[in-house]
């Protein structure tokens, strides 16, 4: 499908086939009289928006007044604006459509900034509408006034300040178009009260006026030929697939290319599930906590094909020694990503699915013409890495020493017992990495996690949005499992209310180690076990018997918290309890279930590359460096450049 990108601001005349530019030639005809607020609601309906998240407030009240019983979209009331934004993100990833949220001005808009930044980093299509004080009050420090557009410049794809009611439908149509085309992203509409209350004449469709927005979707033919040549010349190719492939719905194309090349596929966090984990070509995730096989494949390849990926530091480690022997083909819809972090041999700007559809026949011809190299030795090396360094946690040092559950075991059990159509959501931290490593991903768009931004608290609201999407598109038949940490969960736990009251049941597994686990892991490895400010006292291993060191235990008690919100709360401290709780959760579909798994606080995420160190130093376990067994690798610590 064609998803244009914001390329070079203009390449001459707009393309005649661009349906947006000839959408409405009848905009001059007088339309239906209504207010700007009513026009906003109507425009969302006309765009086909089915679900909207948000919270009302003074400066957006006219819009909420225009949302009525017969409004064609469902409205889901969040309990915090950040959560409304994350819910829209989760909805967008689960459904592949634009997420929409509506909040008020000032503090609501600043609360939303986190979600906008998150969507911007992970290229999630989203239209966010904020209220704004009346035109004459702007700049007067009015009540709940904030310069929302100014604050959000760096974290949105584009933003609008609407001061006139007549602009509302056009701006909504443009915002939706911008958010969903090219490299997707969040678009903000800051709607003044003046524009909401003003009278206008509504017409649809609207003519979009976007002279500076002409995204490129189709690759240049010469580049495809160059890419095909490099591929056939390669002895050790790797497909490095990122979230862009997911956004472009290019799962089938990625698989076809991998099969045609017989090449291994490594993915970023956001692209987990782009090809099934059961496919032997799938080596898993690469980078800081990637598999040894995936990271090793990239470090030793002679051709790296980056597909909708952006060479993030969590993937590359020290850039100078990332894939040191590789030539690079980079396919991305955003020209600014190409060459940003890594010099590229063949740059291809375009939509991933479209580019791969075009590349595959060109490659097939080139293979017939020039033949291909035997990749058996390459596969032998990779399969050895895969066999010797599996993604399992059954070594002696991985086992809990204090009688608590192994968090990795819990994740494996969750995955084994879950419906194959499950949509998996996570917060941010150790549990996120374990979920990414140990959940068996067989389908695309079944993994929702905050990648680039690493937003703790993302999990619950995103799961809420995903379940709303599941109810809309799949009749609720895709269950949503949230794997969260006790720290991450507490950042947005208020959304349990929305889950219960709006009939959005989800299944929540809290891997409760009573600490900020990922921070603690860094403190263990790099800060001499100085556990500064990372102990949470919300699930001490001995919590049910004696108070913890500080005298506090179970603050909060997640089981009671769940019950307080009308959810089913379960606690699991033993394997038997855990299995029973998982079974119970999978059987309960009428309300949200929360399981408080008490897990080991010294559990580690392995493998690991210290931030800023070379990927070659990757440690499978402490002291085990499969790619570079020198003392240097063993000494690798956080470098000054690492963060």
């Amino acid at each position: 499908m064609a998803k244009p990108t914001p390329l070079q601001a203009f390449n001459g005349v707009p393309k005649g086939t661009d349906k947006t530019n000839n959408a409405g030639s009848d905009t001059k005809s007088a339309g239906e009289k209504m207010t700007g607020a009513q026009a906003l609601v109507r425009a969302l309906e006309d765009l086909g928006v089915k679900d909207v998240f948000g919270i009302p407030g003074g400066a957006i009240l006219p819009v909420y007044d225009a949302i009525k019983a017969d409004t064609k979209f469902r409205f889901v009331l969040a309990r915090h604006e950040q959560a409304a934004g994350h819910a829209a993100e989760g909805y967008a990833v689960a459904t592949g459509r634009c997420g929409v949220c509506i909040v008020t001005s000032g503090p609501a808009a600043t609360n939303l900034v986190t979600a906008l930044a998150d969507a911007n980093m992970d290229s999630i299509p989203m239209v966010a509408i904020t209220g704004q004080v009346g035109v004459n009050a702007i700049g007067t420090d009015a009540f709940q006034e904030a310069d929302t557009v100014g604050i959000t410049y760096p974290v949105t794809k584009h933003s609008y300040l609407v001061t006139d009611a007549k602009d509302v439908p056009r701006v909504v149509a443009e915002a939706y178009y911008i958010a969903t085309t090219g490299r997707p992203g969040p678009v903000l509409i800051d709607l003044t009260k003046t524009a909401q209350t003003g009278e206008m004449e509504y017409t649809w469709p609207q003519k979009l006026l976007l002279p500076g927005y002409t995204p490129t979707t189709k690759a240049h033919g010469r580049m495809l030929e160059n890419a095909a040549k490099l591929i056939t010349q390669s002895f050790r190719p790797v497909l490095y697939v990122g979230g862009g492939a997911m956004r472009s719905h290019a799962s089938a194309q990625v698989k076809a290319l991998a099969d045609l090349m017989n090449a291994p596929v490594v993915t970023t966090l956001n692209a987990r599930g782009i090809i099934p984990d059961s496919d032997p070509k799938c080596l898993g995730m690469l980078g800081m906590h990637g598999t040894i096989a995936a990271t090793g494949a990239v470090q030793r390849c002679d051709l790296l094909i980056a597909v909708g990926a952006r060479f993030d530091d969590r993937v590359t480690g020290k850039l100078a020694s990332f894939a040191p022997t590789a030539r690079v083909i980079h396919i991305d819809i955003d020209p600014a990503e190409i060459g940003k972090n890594r010099a590229v041999d063949v740059p291809i700007v375009g939509d991933v699915a479209t580019v791969l559809d075009d590349l595959i026949p060109v490659l097939r011809d080139e293979q017939v013409k020039s033949g291909t190299h035997d990749l058996a030795p390459w596969w032998k090396a990779l399969n050895d890495l895969r066999a010797n360094y599996p993604t399992t946690y059954d070594r002696p040092e991985d086992q809990p020493t204090d009688g608590t559950l192994s968090p990795q075991w819990v994740v494996s059990q969750l995955s084994a017992a879950a419906d194959p159509d499950t949509i998996w959501v996570s917060g941010v931290g150790q549990h996120q990495m374990w979920a990414s490593q140990l959940v068996d991903f067989e389908k695309p768009n079944s993994w929702i996690s905050s990648g680039g931004s690493g937003t703790m608290g993302y999990g619950l609201p995103a799961a809420l949005g995903a379940e709303v999407g599941s109810q809309r598109d799949f009749d609720g038949k895709k269950p949503v499992w949230l794997i969260d940490g006790d720290g991450s969960f507490q950042m947005t736990s208020e959304e349990l209310a929305a889950s219960t009251l709006d009939g959005v049941p989800i299944k929540i597994a809290i891997l409760n180690n009573s600490v900020y686990g990922m921070v603690r892991q860094w403190q263990t490895l790099f800060y001499d076990k100085h556990y500064s400010a990372t102990i949470l006292h919300d699930g001490e291993p001995d919590a049910d018997d004696t108070p913890g060191e500080s005298g506090f235990v179970n603050i909060p008690d997640f089981v009671k918290l769940a019950e307080a919100y009308g959810c089913l709360g379960l606690r699991a401290t033993t394997k038997e309890e855990a299995l029973a709780a998982i079974k119970k959760a999978n059987e309960t579909n009428d309300r949200t279930v929360l399981i408080d798994f008490r897990v080991w606080q010294d559990a580690m995420v392995w493998p690991m590359v210290p931030a800023g160190a070379s990927n070659d130093t990757v440690a499978y376990r402490k002291g085990v460096h499969p790619l570079d067994n020198s003392q240097q690798a063993d000494d690798a610590k956080l470098s000054a450049e690492g963060f």
């Binding site: 914001p6 390329l7 070079q8 601001a9 203009f10 001459g12 005349v13 707009p14 557009v149 100014g150 410049y153 760096p154 794809k157 584009h158 300040l161 602009d167 911008i178 006026l209 976007l210 002279p211 500076g212 927005y213 955003d334 020209p335 600014a336 060459g339 940003k340």
Partner: protein
């Protein structure tokens, strides 16, 4: 002293011409991109063009090639940016206007006036203690004039920042799409 990662010592001077939609907030979006990447901008000018719906921003900065390419790509992503060209100094006319208030009393006023004549500058204000001089030219010429006038004591100085246009018959805005922008 602040460090500017994008503008290391020895970086070359570049001139960018950026055509943008003439509307509120555009300059903030553009300058924000430079600020975030710690570009040390030497000068930045904005003004309307031959088309009232389009403004032109001229930026000069000492910057390395890689960050420059990245910021051009990032600027291109802004919807209000219509076109960006890095101007080649060999095919570009670049001018800057400067107003200099320089100390000049009865003894040395004629010396200063001699410099003014040599540089084809103008005196736009005079009093018993100072002369105010207006000069237009390339950066090099203005720097040379400044060097000479410093000796007399510069009381106040304001420079407009560079504006630049390519030689030849073509306009940068030529290919910018029709009159659509004005319909808003």
């Amino acid at each position: 002293m602040a460090t500017y990662p994008a503008s290391q010592p020895g970086a070359q001077r570049h001139t960018l011409s950026v055509l943008v939609e003439n509307r509120p907030g555009v300059l903030a979006r553009v300058s924000g991109l430079f600020a975030r990447r710690s570009f040390n901008i030497d000068s930045l000018t904005v003004s309307p063009t031959e088309r009232k719906d389009i403004s032109r921003i001229t930026v000069t900065a000492h910057v390395d090639q890689a960050p420059l390419e990245q910021i051009i790509k990032q600027l291109n992503k802004l919807l209000h940016v219509l076109k960006i060209v890095e101007l080649d100094p060999t095919t570009t006319v670049e001018r800057e206007l400067v107003l200099i208030k320089v100390s000049a009393n009865a003894q040395n006023r004629s010396d200063v006036l001699e410099l003014v004549r040599m540089f084809r500058a103008h005196v736009v204000d005079v009093n018993t203690e100072t002369l105010t001089i207006e000069s237009t030219g390339s950066q090099d010429k203005i720097d040379a004039l400044m060097n000479l006038l410093e000796h007399y004591g510069v009381v106040e100085l304001v420079r407009s920042g560079a504006v630049a246009v390519t030689r030849g018959p073509k306009a940068l805005s030529e290919k910018v799409i029709g009159s659509e922008i004005t319909q808003r």
